[in-house]
Subunit: 334 residues, 2 copies
DNA sequence: CTGAAAGCGCTTACAG
DNA sequence: CTGAAAGCGCTTACAG
């Protein structure tokens, strides 16, 4: 491992001034082709690597954004991060992914960020937006949230259109003949939970199917994707209520729902059609594969990057939730 | 968004010199408690955020490592990255995750890295080690690979002990009564494929069960986790060969294997016991949940960080593969 | 206990 | 087309 080579050393070796080396390396038009070639060749031979720190200090800008992602959901964000990465690269920015264990690490995260060479933060989780707002204001750091969970939005926020998406998925189940559709929903604490419930009701209403309270169950409390089964669904099935479809508020609930249905002798999709929401990895791993409402990962990533870049350029951005429509992906489960 | 506040401005506002502010902010013992408090208070009020660039330039070190991860497998690396992140933080290093689309982006990746404020690279994928070696040598950048795929190792490398792990998993199937164990393996191009095949054979031999060529099938060619089923396994079942267990060379193969078995009227684990390798997310999503050999994610992350830090400290590290033992996780599939 | 000054490695007007 | 010099924002001997 050779020690660090500086611009000055390259200049010496090439017999020119540092300014010329700097220009040659950046392809400045004012430098003669011959000099440019020679300098580049020397730089390469010496293993010259420009100091990102010196550059950033000069430019007053790091060209780096930080994306905060909950570790447990890293996979979930795969397609999103890939697009964000490309969108950032197109503007000359790198992306540094910063994994956090839980949402409550937000405070600690911001402390760390105050030392990081970053120009903006993209928070991918339902954090306490108020707290993040204060922390980022304090540091003078632009911030954008990818968040369909927080009720109160005080950050520029990007999300899927939950209500509309849930209606599309539910309507698909209805079109396939379902009438008694269970909603494996949440406890209602989060924004997307109430929105997707509303979308589910919208679809029922549009089809003239009466809403039945007993078909809406809370699968969020104490839920873990590693759970063997889904107790609330098991309870409903044991009660003898006949059902012909299940709409999972998130794909992550589907594997446990499938196991529970199978355990009760119900086959998917013949006895019970199932649809999900997200189109994350779980959707293609279950048997049968899951019909689901795909979140617009690419569009959300582009929108989030745009919101960040606009703040960098000092353009005004509103602290409101931008909701982008998803797409129904039809697979074997419905 | 306020503009950037510098040390000099804080010094002015606090009525002291910049040196004193610098010392006060870093908690230097030579500065009086009164001054320290006052400076800190002013800094906080002004929203002072030290320039990471200026610090890094002064210190000659960024305190940042880059982890290169294939986007498609982001989720797979969740537990690994979390541990790596913590191990790095304990040494005052941040970790920047750099997603790459395919393994062949390695070249492009290194170009980008030459501009990034990083002090070391952790490559999490079976890249062309020769190429990465040359690129990192050129840049004078320490590098460690997490790689159980490459045959030729020219980088300090960390991996799971594949052969031993495969033997443990296969032995477990044998202990559960299996005698005709299919190996859903690979094409043999990669190191872990031959190693896990060897482990499978070790277990058979130890149990006195003859090895049968026809039970080893290639599930790697053209495989995608989104595939409905596993054609090689379907072919084997159609041929009428009786089987009582399946060992999947990676958990990722299990979902398609489960669908194929079910389609052929075979139930898991009653008719066929199944075991996997990795213990990644797929293992808990399938029905029934998968018995599998868990990779030592935490130990691998700690070892990789240690290898990187030793290079930073100019200690010699060998370009060899360190193989760490995994753990059998027993679930319902076997 | 505190401050003035040098210097980390670049880029970019400015002067030739 | 090229170079000497200033300055980005810090930290840290050095001198009080």
């Amino acid at each position: 491992m050779p020690r660090k080579v500086t611009l000055a050393e390259v200049a010496d070796a090439a017999g020119v001034g540092v300014a010329t080396v700097s220009r040659a390396m950046s392809g400045h038009p004012d430098v003669s082709a011959a000099t440019q070639d020679r300098v580049r060749e020397v730089a390469k031979r010496l293993g010259y690597r420009p100091s990102a720190a010196a550059r950033a200090l000069k430019a007053g800008s790091y060209h780096e954004f930080t994306v905060i992602v909950p570790t447990g959901a890293l996979g979930w964000w795969g397609p999103f991060i890939q697009t964000a990465f490309e969108a950032a690269a197109a503007e000359g920015y790198r992306i540094s992914v910063f994994p956090v264990g839980t949402e409550d690490d937000a405070a600690a995260m911001v402390d760390t960020l105050s030392l990081a060479p970053t120009e903006g933060v993209l928070v991918c989780t339902g954090v306490d937006q108020e707290r993040v707002r204060r922390a980022c204001d304090q540091l003078g750091l632009p911030v954008v949230a990818l968040d369909d969970a927080s009720r109160d939005v005080v950050l520029p926020t990007v999300a899927v259109a939950s209500r509309q998406g849930a209606a599309v998925a539910t309507t698909h189940l209805i079109e396939r003949g379902a009438r008694s559709i269970v909603l494996c929903g949440g406890s209602g604490d989060w924004y997307y939970e109430t929105e997707r419930l509303a979308g589910y009701r919208d679809a029922l209403e549009a089809a003239g199917i009466p809403f039945r309270e007993e078909l809406v169950i809370d699968c969020a409390t104490d839920f873990s994707e590693a759970d063997e089964d889904l107790p609330p669904l098991a309870g409903l099935l044991a009660s003898g209520v006949p059902i012909d479809a299940v709409f999972c508020i998130g794909d992550v609930v589907a594997p446990a729902a499938f196991r529970t249905l199978r355990k009760h002798g119900l086959s998917v999709p013949d006895d019970v059609a199932v649809a999900g929401f997200d189109d994350e990895r779980a959707a293609v791993l279950v048997d049968p594969q899951l019909t689901t409402l795909r979140q617009p990962y690419e569009a959300m990533a582009n929108a989030a990057m745009d919101l960040l870049l606009r703040q960098i350029r000092r353009e005004p951005v509103a602290a409101e939730r931008l909701q982008l429509p998803g797409t129904l992906i039809v697979r074997a489960s419905a």
